[in-house]
């Protein structure tokens, strides 16, 4: 039996323009979509564009939503990942190492000294940069399973591969991340 989608009830309300339902869906889904984009592209502005475009597509889809076909989360991930792939294929995306922005630094423990905050922030940037150097499918597997905390079955379904293939990608992704972080001097 198909699992009940907890968001299914919100979609007709969204289609009718119910602002409370719209806010609820944006507040609950935006952080994950944004994080997915940032980690897949290593570019915050591009990730924001993708999050926005994903919601625009949801607004268009809401009226025709067929409950029972796909879970909203799965649909959102699929749309966002496709947009990430489009961006990665296009020459518009520049996978360059970026300086930490103020918003990222604000995420770090405020009780630390400025030097400690800077060091941690720089380490975060190095990790994001190492992630961007992984082959795309390995990165996608690691982002979906580790960072987005999807089950292995959900992640494999989204990627259109078997669980065995996903596990192989995850194992290589972790091994490569360790090697890249050693190379960058983040760890020994």
């Amino acid at each position: 039996m198909r699992e009940q989608d907890p968001d299914a009830d919100l979609l007709p309300r969204i289609a009718a323009g119910d602002q409370a339902a719209i806010r609820q869906i944006v507040v609950s889904k935006l952080p994950r979509l944004l994080a997915l984009g940032v980690r897949m592209l290593n570019n915050r502005a591009a990730a924001e564009d993708i999050a926005q475009e994903t919601f625009v597509r949801l607004w268009k889809q809401a009226a025709q939503w067929q409950s029972g076909e796909a879970k909203l989360d799965t649909w959102l991930y699929r749309v966002a990942l496709n947009l990430c792939y489009d961006r990665l294929r296009s020459h518009a995306h520049i996978a360059a190492m970026q300086l930490p922005d103020d918003a990222t630094q604000e995420q770090i423990d405020p009780t630390l000294t400025p030097e400690q905050r800077l060091a941690l922030s720089q380490q975060g940037v190095q990790i994001n940069a190492a992630l961007s150097l992984l082959p795309t499918r390995q990165r996608e597997a690691l982002v979906l399973q580790y960072y987005q905390e999807l089950s292995n079955i959900e992640a494999a379904n989204l990627m259109g591969i078997s669980v065995d293939a996903l596990e192989s990608l995850l194992s290589r992704a972790r091994r490569n991340m360790r090697a890249l972080l050693i190379e960058k001097g983040v760890t020994s």
Partner: protein
């Protein structure tokens, strides 16, 4: 489950066993009774990588992004009507402007009228205070 299986799973899913597929978890307890130290070493190795991966934190969405997404969302018919009305109400703006100018003009006229009225009433009072002798020229010859 063997220690090799355990090591393989740790290399795939990391050190946090809660993240492992559920079907593998019950077997971990059995292995721990005999291989606890080896298991600890395997997990420690993956724990170091997990700790680094967890340092990659993403800043929350800006209020501007949130607003922009909210504004792109569908609206109720009434909200759409209201938005259309206010966005396309140039005639209303022009009417308000015209009314504003008229109001200023009227206020000016009223102020002017008030000043004239006050001044003329002042003159009237002065006239009333003139004596009969001052008002009437009797002529030099009469004296």
């Amino acid at each position: 489950m063997t220690t090799e299986d355990f090591s393989q799973l740790a290399k795939i899913y990391g050190a946090d066993i809660k993240r492992w597929p559920e079907e593998h978890r019950p077997m971990i307890g059995d292995l721990a009774t005999t291989q606890f130290t080896t298991m600890r070493q395997i997990l420690d190795e993956e724990l170091a990588l997990d700790a680094l991966l967890n340092q990659d934190c993403i800043a929350p969405a800006s209020p501007a992004l949130l607003d922009s997404i909210m504004q792109s969302a569908p609206q109720t018919k009434l909200a759409k009507h209201n938005a259309y009305f206010w966005q396309n109400s140039h005639w209303l703006n022009n009417t308000f402007k015209a009314l504003g100018f008229t109001g200023i003009g009227l206020a000016g006229a009223l102020t002017g009228m008030l000043i004239v009225s006050v001044m003329s009433s002042h003159l009237m009072v002065n006239n009333n205070e003139l004596t009969v002798a001052e008002m009437v020229d009797f002529g030099q010859d009469w004296r």
